[in-house]
């Protein structure tokens, strides 16, 4: 918390109205339906009319051939500010950043940020084929394992170099499942034991079934507006202390063992006025448990290569020593395309405003949320983070 008790980076703008459109394993609906439901939820929770929203920031992979601009006509919105962020696990952090500055500068007054995707039975295979030029030319022809194969290679390398064991990744998955059991929107509703994790069928060695997210349909969203407006509307809200955004960091590394967080964390924590030791809950981008471990390292919770020891020495449930992915993360809630990039933010807003759906983290004052993703070839190109505070610190 900064000396003035507020956010130096974004002093008069806040994030509010966390909304989740319940996930479905498969849906025959278009992404537009999930966007409409998310907007309905945002308007209802804020007591606003559609015409009060003058900015829209949309993350989606499955709108094609449409993009955000087509959605304005489709859903009858007339905004004066628009952004489209088909960048998966980074879309929530970037939406937040863009929207905060838009409101701060006066370009918009109420920005709806929505990550929404459908999952039709053939969506996953089709998205692999159209994901990137590099994936088409240089990844898919090699066994067509999709991102699972990429992260299998990274996980194998991490295990060999840093001594991580399957049990370490399993511990994260088991803790997140325990968190998910209190969260009504999680697709996984039964407990997971370490034995079940270890004996699950192999997907791409060393990854097993519960290392991999379940693609699904759904949406997440929030509103960004001035603190004054949030107070006038009587909305519980959260100040944002600092954010960071980095693409294609450390491109010369032979294999991705770190992300751009390492490059930006000092400035992030300096801007925020809090460090990792002050953080009460963390939402990593947990597309695979190895990435949670790498994010904990790169965001300063332990040194590079100490992730396995850190995991062994901590517990990650809502009542644990470092509450992590407290609604279950996408490993237990499901990965609804770009909504997965909003999942951690939405959960952090709920925790910090005391409007929990999942089990509350006791005394939650500061939350760290990370974004990651877009494996266009051999590594995730995006790394972002945000530090959020309970109002008043």
């Amino acid at each position: 918390m900064s000396a003035s008790g507020g956010s130096r980076a974004y002093p008069d703008v806040v994030v509010t109205a966390p909304v989740t459109v319940p996930y479905e394993r498969y849906s025959s609906s278009s992404a537009h339906v999930f966007i409409a439901r998310a907007l309905t939820g945002l308007l209802a929770s804020a007591g606003l009319k559609k015409s009060d929203v003058d900015g829209l920031c949309l993350g989606s992979f499955t709108l094609a051939p449409d993009s955000a601009v087509a959605v304005t006509q489709y859903l009858g919105l007339s905004t004066r500010w628009l952004d489209f962020l088909p960048i998966g696990g980074m879309s929530g952090i970037v939406a937040l950043r863009r929207a905060l500055r838009a409101v701060q500068s006066g370009d918009a007054q109420v920005v709806a940020c929505v990550g929404a995707d459908t999952n039709q039975p053939d969506s996953f295979r089709k998205s692999l084929e159209s994901f990137s030029t590099f994936a088409r030319d240089a990844v898919l022809p090699y066994g067509s394992g999709g991102p699972n194969a990429n992260f299998a290679l990274l996980t194998a390398y991490y295990m060999r170099n840093y001594g991580a064991r399957a049990e370490d990744f399993g511990k994260l998955c088991v803790a997140q499942r325990a968190n998910a059991l209190s969260y009504p929107h999680a697709l996984f509703k039964s407990p997971l034991t370490l034995e079940e994790y270890l004996s699950a069928r192999p997907i791409a060695d060393p990854l097993r079934l519960f290392d991999c997210v379940m693609p699904c349909a759904g949406a997440e969203g929030f509103l960004v507006m001035s603190r004054d407006r949030a107070q006038r509307l009587g909305l519980p809200y959260v100040p944002v202390l600092a954010t960071s955004e980095r693409y294609n960091a450390y491109a010369d590394d032979p294999i991705q063992m770190r992300g751009g967080w390492e490059m930006d964390r000092d400035r992030l924590y300096d801007d925020a006025g809090v460090g990792p030791q002050d953080v009460d809950l963390v939402q990593t981008y947990d597309d695979y448990p190895v990435m949670s471990m790498i994010q904990l390292e790169d965001l300063g919770f332990c040194a590079k290569g100490e992730g396995p020891e850190f995991v062994r020495g901590n517990s990650f449930t809502a009542d644990g020593s470092l509450p992590l992915n407290t609604s279950g993360g996408q490993l237990s809630v499901g990965q609804a395309g770009c909504a997965a990039g909003f999942l951690g933010l939405v959960e952090a807003i709920r925790q910090l405003t005391g409007r929990n759906l999942a089990r509350p983290v006791p005394e939650a004052h500061f939350a760290l949320v990370a974004g990651f993703g877009m494996i266009t070839y051999d590594r995730g190109l995006c790394a972002g983070a945000a530090v959020l505070s309970r109002e008043g610190g």
Partner: protein, 150 residues
């Protein structure tokens, strides 16, 4: 009913890799301006942004960084042949490449040599072999199927 094949869709930039593989060579694009070796194929240099790239033969030597066996594939041809061996190799000439992996390669870290072959879809693909000796496709029955036993 069409015969299942490995994915054959490629960008036009990748055609040089296939053309070289058809002639038994492993070639990558090299920037005419700054000599940076490029992979995956592209139409502009990642180092200096020049747009003139030339396909040049590479010796394929590199370090085997990591391997996996894919058990769940999205492609019908590979689905019939899982588990499928895949590797990540850092080439001495610069780029990191994803390759098929010959069963005779030692576990990482290890030296390997990458060669280019045409697969049964008619496209050039990279295969990592043990570092010493000629590429012995015949000793790996799955790779033999991949290249169509030509």
């Amino acid at each position: 009913m069409t015969r299942d094949l490995p994915p054959s869709l490629r960008s036009s930039a990748a055609s040089g890799l296939t053309a070289a593989a058809a002639a038994g060579r492993f070639e990558l694009q090299v920037c005419v301006s700054c000599e940076a070796v490029q992979y995956p194929p592209r139409e502009a240099c990642y180092a200096c942004l020049a747009t003139q790239l030339q396909w040049r033969a590479q010796d394929g030597g590199g370090e085997l960084l990591a391997t996996t066996q894919v058990h769940v594939s999205q492609n019908a041809w590979f689905k019939e042949r899982t588990p499928w061996r895949v590797a990540l190799v850092r080439l001495d000439c610069g780029p990191t490449v994803i390759t098929h992996l010959h069963s005779g390669c030692p576990p990482p870290p290890a030296r390997v040599r990458v060669h280019a072959f045409l697969d049964v879809s008619g496209q050039g693909v990279l295969i990592a072999f043990p570092a010493e000796g000629p590429p012995d496709i015949a000793s790996d029955s799955k790779l033999l199927e991949l290249v169509g036993d030509r």
